[in-house]
């Protein structure tokens, strides 16, 4: 309730105004500025120290170059034997649906957890901290470790992978959902509260409806990430294309290893395109990630333009009128 209070009114001006020649020309060394400077120095020192470490370990790589070259030669050209091709495609489809189901599970669990972890929803710090800790725990445990556990329970196959990736997704989605709930505008929520709405009504109309674009964008992004995770989860028996990798790697079939890697790279790029097209279609110009650095880094302009065209076609025309004056 105290959130509804105005944070503060205009702070009173200082008593005596300094003359122009008394105003310093450099920014003052506030505590915050000192902290930030020390942090920057820390990062620099850490990088230099790290560089020294890496230089020591780089030599074996150079010394071992003939072996690396030999390995690369045995990998080239990438190749998947004809009798394996349908299996690879099946496993790839498995991976896709695993990513999809894992995201559904992860998002379904993350929404309540994210809300519970948000300062805007729960005022009790114990509940909030507990939800935050669970989310952090899910993020801290790698999905491969989770998959090892679930493979023990459910045996080798997609179910273990889905659960492992789904639970690990909570760490990412829950965190971003609670941030979305924290970052809503309080004004519209006040507006809903001022109509005499109950707390549940206030949360759904005032809070949730503001979170929706962020939840959709996060979930779609998570499908991409989960697809990438799903390609590896099979290495520990979690199902999907990773099972094939495990097989060829165990039998030292290097050409197949490179071949399936190429297939995965192509599949990941296609996934990103699909996900971006879906994002554009669903969110249109309200996408909170639309112009983010991440998308630029991930797609490059031509991919984004392509995705945008697909989205416009899919949404059934450019009938969308500019959404804000």
């Amino acid at each position: 309730m105290s959130l509804l209070e105005e944070p503060s009114i205009d702070t009173p001006a200082p008593q005596a105004r300094p003359t122009a020649d008394q105003v310093p020309l450099s920014p003052p060394w506030t505590r915050r500025r000192i902290t930030l400077t020390l942090l920057a120095c820390g990062f620099l020192a850490g990088s230099i120290w790290g560089l020294r470490r890496v230089e020591m370990t780089l030599f074996p790589l150079i010394e071992g170059w003939p072996e690396t070259w030999d390995l690369l030669q045995r990998m080239w050209p990438p190749f998947i034997p004809a009798e394996d091709r349908s299996e690879v495609l099946q496993l790839l489809a498995d991976t896709f649906f695993m990513a999809f189901l894992a995201t559904v599970i992860g998002v379904a669990l993350s929404i309540p957890l994210g809300l519970l972890a948000s300062r805007n929803v729960v005022s009790n710090p114990i509940i909030r901290t507990a939800a935050m800790l669970f989310i952090a725990f899910a993020r801290a445990v790698p999905s491969l470790i989770l998959a090892l556990v679930f493979v023990r329970v459910f045996g080798i196959g997609p179910i273990a992978g889905i659960l492992a990736i789904g639970l690990h997704s909570i760490g990412f989605c829950g965190k971003l959902f609670s941030a979305a709930a924290d970052n809503i505008e309080l004004g519209p929520r006040d507006g809903v509260a001022s109509t005499g709405a109950s707390r549940g009504q206030e949360l759904l109309t005032g809070v949730w409806s503001q979170m929706v674009p962020s939840v959709i964008a996060t979930s779609l992004y998570r499908v991409e990430i989960n697809f990438r995770e799903g390609t590896l989860i099979g290495l520990v028996g979690g199902g999907g294309i990773g099972l094939y990798i495990r097989g060829v790697q165990g039998n030292l079939r290097y050409q197949e290893l490179l071949g399936v890697t190429v297939v995965i790279i192509v599949a990941v790029i296609v996934m990103e395109l699909l996900s971006q097209a879906a994002r554009r279609t669903i969110l249109g110009p309200t996408d909170p990630l639309a112009n983010s650095v991440r998308l630029r880094a991930a797609g490059g302009w031509h991919l984004r333009v392509l995705a945008h065209r697909v989205a416009v076609e899919a949404s059934g025309a450019s009938s969308y009128v500019g959404y804000r004056e």
Binding site: T19, A20, P188, D190, G191, G196, A197, G206, Y323
Partner: protein, 285 residues
Amino acid sequence: MTSPPSSVPIANGTRRPDVVSVRNLRKEFDGGDVVALDGVSFDVPEGQLLVIIGLSGSGKSTLLRHLNGLTWPTDGQVNVLGTDVVRAKGKSLRSLRRDVGFVFQQFNIVGRLTCIENVLTGALGELRGPRLGARMYPKSLRRRAIEQLDRVGLADRAWQRTDTLSGGQQQRVAIARSLMQQPRIVLADEPVASLDPEISGQVMDALFQCCVEDNITVLCSLHQVDLAINWAHRLIGLRDGQVVLDTPVDGNLDTEDVMQVYRRLDPTGEKVDEYAETPAHALAG
């Protein structure tokens, strides 16, 4: 829903029962460093259109936010429609808020929702359980929401996203949301502060017109004295959290008195008091 329009100004002569009663209201922020309201007292009879004027930071918004429990006072009593707002919480506070519409300076509508969804929000107090999307409201309420939108001239925008509208239109949606509550009082906190003068006039007309039609008491804070005088039955002036002016609006209104509320303004529009010790020429060097 609609009572016959009463265009009779409610001035001193005709007393109706008070719907708002504020006594010695005091509000401090930052542990007493900032005093936003300093012993404010006044009563508002039913049906009165009361306009509160004053500089930014004089306590207008804070005062209005006390009247529906969006803020709590440091000291003093606030009684609205027979409810002690300071003590009210939970259910009694919500039932009070159902009877008190609030129109915010920043509109405070949910931009992602359609206009009709925002207006329907005003009916949440009548319903049990949360709603998402217009289809979760009964058709009778949807019809009423469209009627309210029609009153502010936006019925054709019902299914448009609210953030696609202009500022003046958004504020009219917010007014429709307040009317949807069928309130007995509307509190308007500088409803036109972010709009241009012409649109401001239209919005104020829409607000006051509807409230007069529905016999709703209005407490409205405003910067523009001219807009205030057009509609108001009564003016209250706030300065530094104190009531410095309380006058009916009729032929005898002294404009000089009204301008006194803005006394601290110097010609450049800056507050001058705080810097009085430093002569202007000292700043030139």
